[in-house]
Amino acid sequence: MERPLDHSDHFAIQTQNLRKVFKNKVAVGNLSLSVRRGEIFGFLGPNGAGKSTSIKMLLGLVKPSGGEAYVLNVPASNVEIRRKIGFLPEDFRFYHWLTAAELLALHGRLSGVPAATLRERVPAYIDLVGLTPHRDKRLQAFSKGMLQRIGLAQALIHEPELIFLDEPTSGLDPMGRRLVRDIIRSQRERGATVFLNSHILSEIEITCDEVVFIRDGEVVTSRDLRTTRAEEIRVVIRARKLTPEAIAGLAPWTTSAVLEDELLTLATPTQDVLPDILRHLVAAGADVYQFTPQKLSLEDLFMKIMGEDRGL
């Protein structure tokens, strides 16, 4: 049975059975998700999974074919609520004839920030994204990385409660990525909710509180990274005298076991079972030379959940 939408202030985003069909192509099949306020939420999926279309529906850019979408407790089509929403598009482009300072002032005005406030905020946000030496340069002279930075600043200039960032670190060098990561965390500390779509899974892994994996516009599974990070363990064991019975006996503690020569690779849902596994192998007569637990990275998890590359 479907869970009814919760209209308390607990959630920043809620969708139920959200669907978008372009002519005969289903872009988003049946998206139901909830994003709690004040968290950094990762939105993951392969190319063509419907991520961008879903974000556009949440921002009112694309009209849903069905289902419901609420942001900050009002329907996503509500225009006024956008005063509290910031958005960095995937490939941020804007009028190249504007300077960085003019761009921020314009977006601030369009978001309803008073002129007096903007006089202070514009230089502050240009400084935040490290573009102070370039504040009076026109955007046509900006590199892709600089455009991403000023695009991030325009998404934040009105200090929104909910921020959508679509591939915010694409085109950025490692220092730029670090800066964006720090800014995203500072937004969470300010109390904002950040909805992050990125292909860089290592970034998601160290930034997000929760992630969902979507495919064909449907949530496949979700992970709370605050609690999951310590779990999902992969164990590499180098041992001799491993019998099929010994390996079969590991089943109660493992989700997979693959033996190649002397290397046995196991996956376990929690690290609490590691002593049991080792005791079992020794008791079964195996000579264990190496026992190395490794955390399952988000990338491993992604591959495991999404399966084979379908060439999308």
Binding site: F22, K56, L59, G60, L61, V62, K63, V79, E80, I81, R82, R83, I85, F87, P89, D91, F92, R93, F94, Y95, W97, L98, L106, H107, R109, L110, S111, G112, G151, Q154
Partner: protein, 276 residues
């Protein structure tokens, strides 16, 4: 508030992108050529024996050709500067950063439309007053009802702008440009065919011209403007390019106004409904 911000931004965009300045420089080139033309004509008159009454009609005809050139420049500039505004911003995704602000889509579209109208008003005022001043100073002629004429040319440009915006909510920049220039070309041809109908009584060319004007009434507005501005005597001469052989009625101007409002309503509706 946001509406005026978008209107101001659109106006500034034209200025920053040098479109307005390029159009004004082209206008200055026109003034130079037109001024020399008038000057040489007056010098030729001084050496010849053409009666002053006929001289006045000839220079008045030159003024009408000058104003017609201004009209063509204004319409083409309107289409070329605005063709990328809606369609190009949708294609490139630039519209996303604006459409996700707390502004209703109709305000985005009307704001841009208003910004262009401000630019057109300045351009037409400068080009019209410059052409008329030149003709007055060099040739000693003035048009009848210049304000009515200028307002009609302004209406023609606003119509072209609105149709460009309307198709821009459906089609890509290139397709939009081809459609709008094609429609204006159709109106242009229809207008001249209608003008040619004056040589034969009951010509079917009139019907063809009216149908063309109903499809796109831009050229009909110019022919009404020419009728308003041309001297009554020159207008009655059958060989004049703007002779009042088949003058669009006030009802046709009213139709053009309704057509423009209808196109604007369709543009707003479709821009509101479509996915961005």
């Amino acid at each position: 508030m946001a509406f005026w911000t978008i209107a101001g931004m659109t106006f500034r965009e034209a200025a920053r992108k040098k479109i307005l300045w390029t159009a004004l420089i082209a206008g200055l080139g026109f003034f130079v050529v037109f001024g020399f033309g008038l000057h040489y004509q007056m010098a030729d008159f001084a050496r010849g024996s053409i009666p002053p009454f006929l001289q006045y009609q000839i220079v008045s005809g030159m003024l009408m050709i000058g104003l017609y050139t201004v009209d063509l420049l204004a319409v083409v500039m309107t289409i070329l500067t605005s063709v990328d505004t809606i369609s190009g911003e949708i294609d490139s995704g630039r519209i996303q950063a604006i459409a996700t602000k707390p502004i209703a889509r109709w305000q985005v579209l009307l704001g841009k439309w208003t910004g262009f109208i401000g630019m057109l008003a300045i351009y037409i005022a400068l080009m019209f007053s410059g052409t008329i001043a030149e003709a007055h100073w060099i040739g000693g002629v003035v048009p009848q009802n210049p304000v009515t004429g200028a307002l009609l040319v302004f209406l023609e440009c606003v119509l072209a702008l609105t149709v460009t915006f309307m198709f821009g909510t459906w089609f890509s920049t290139l397709t939009n440009g081809v459609i709008v220039l094609g429609l204006h070309g159709l109106a242009f041809l229809g207008g001249w065919l209608e003008q040619m109908s004056g040589f034969v009584e009951g010509s079917r060319l009139v019907t063809l011209g009216i149908v063309s004007s109903l499809v796109m009434p831009s050229e009909a507005i110019w022919r009404r403007a020419a009728f308003e501005m041309e001297s009554p005597l020159a207008g009655s001469l059958q060989f004049s390019p703007f002779a009042d052989i088949s003058v669009p009625s006030v009802a046709m101007i009213g139709y053009a106004g309704v057509f423009m409002i209808g196109a604007l309503a369709v543009a707003i509706y479709h821009f509101h409904k479509r996915d961005l």
